[in-house]
């Protein structure tokens, strides 16, 4: 069946450290987005990235659609980066997103 996997499931970092989050998906995709869910539950769009590489400040993302994975890079992490990071994928045959299980990030001061 359709699968979206994320790794690692949990990550604890010291403030200032860098990290890489991975998303693997089982089928070809139309769209891929990365979200940050903050402690208040809001889903914040980070990147819309069905392919290629994008950067936004300390964050960047790369999607290699042919190899069915995407990476989210966080550099110089801050405590406000804490929360759950979701990868969500829209497969070729449907409109809705299938979310991965998320990576829970804790950044310690």
């Amino acid at each position: 069946g359709i699968q979206v996997e994320q790794s690692p499931p949990d990550l604890i970092l010291q403030e200032g450290a860098n990290s890489t989050l991975r998303c693997n998906f089982s089928d070809s995709v139309n769209n891929l987005q990365w979200f940050h869910q903050n402690p208040w539950g809001q889903l914040i769009n980070l990147f819309y990235i069905p392919s290629g590489t994008k950067q936004n400040g300390r964050l960047s993302a790369t999607t290699v659609a042919t190899e069915r994975y995407s990476l989210l890079y966080i550099s110089s992490s801050q405590t406000t980066d804490s929360g759950v990071y979701f990868c969500a994928v829209n497969f070729d045959y449907g409109q809705n997103f299938v979310f991965g299980p998320g990576t829970r990030l804790s950044v310690l001061p």
């Binding site: 769209n31 539950g41 809001q42 769009n45 809705n96 997103f97 991965g100």
Partner: protein, 111 residues
């Protein structure tokens, strides 16, 4: 820039009651989606509408129904509420099948 609006933001209901959640998509977006996120889980797709017609359906219980109105706002109606319906309900909108923008969510608590 305008964002997706959801109301109410918090809702407390008793078992077997009904609830109505509202969503106002970003202007000119033609597709609306509803997702349910249980505690500690990832969001699960419920239903979507394209140009006011139901376009896709996920794991939405028969007790739930939804519609999109002529002004493009959407409502999710939930009847015979159960404890397990307690969750965060997100509405999202997009232009065609491109980037989805999520609202702040409605937190439903069923007692």
């Amino acid at each position: 820039a305008a964002g997706v609006i959801q109301s109410p933001r918090h809702l407390i209901k008793e078992k077997r009651e009904t609830a109505t959640l509202k969503c106002y998509p970003i202007p000119r977006h033609d597709t609306v989606y509803w997702y349910q996120q249980g505690p500690g889980q990832d969001p699960q797709f419920l239903i979507s509408f394209y140009e006011k017609m139901q376009s896709d359906k996920g794991s939405i219980p028969d007790r739930f129904s939804a519609q999109q109105f002529s002004d493009y706002h959407s409502e999710l109606n939930m009847s015979s509420l159960e404890l397990g319906d307690s969750a965060l309900y997100f509405c999202a909108s997009s232009l065609a099948s491109f980037e989805q923008f999520f609202g702040p969510g409605t937190r439903l608590t069923v007692l």
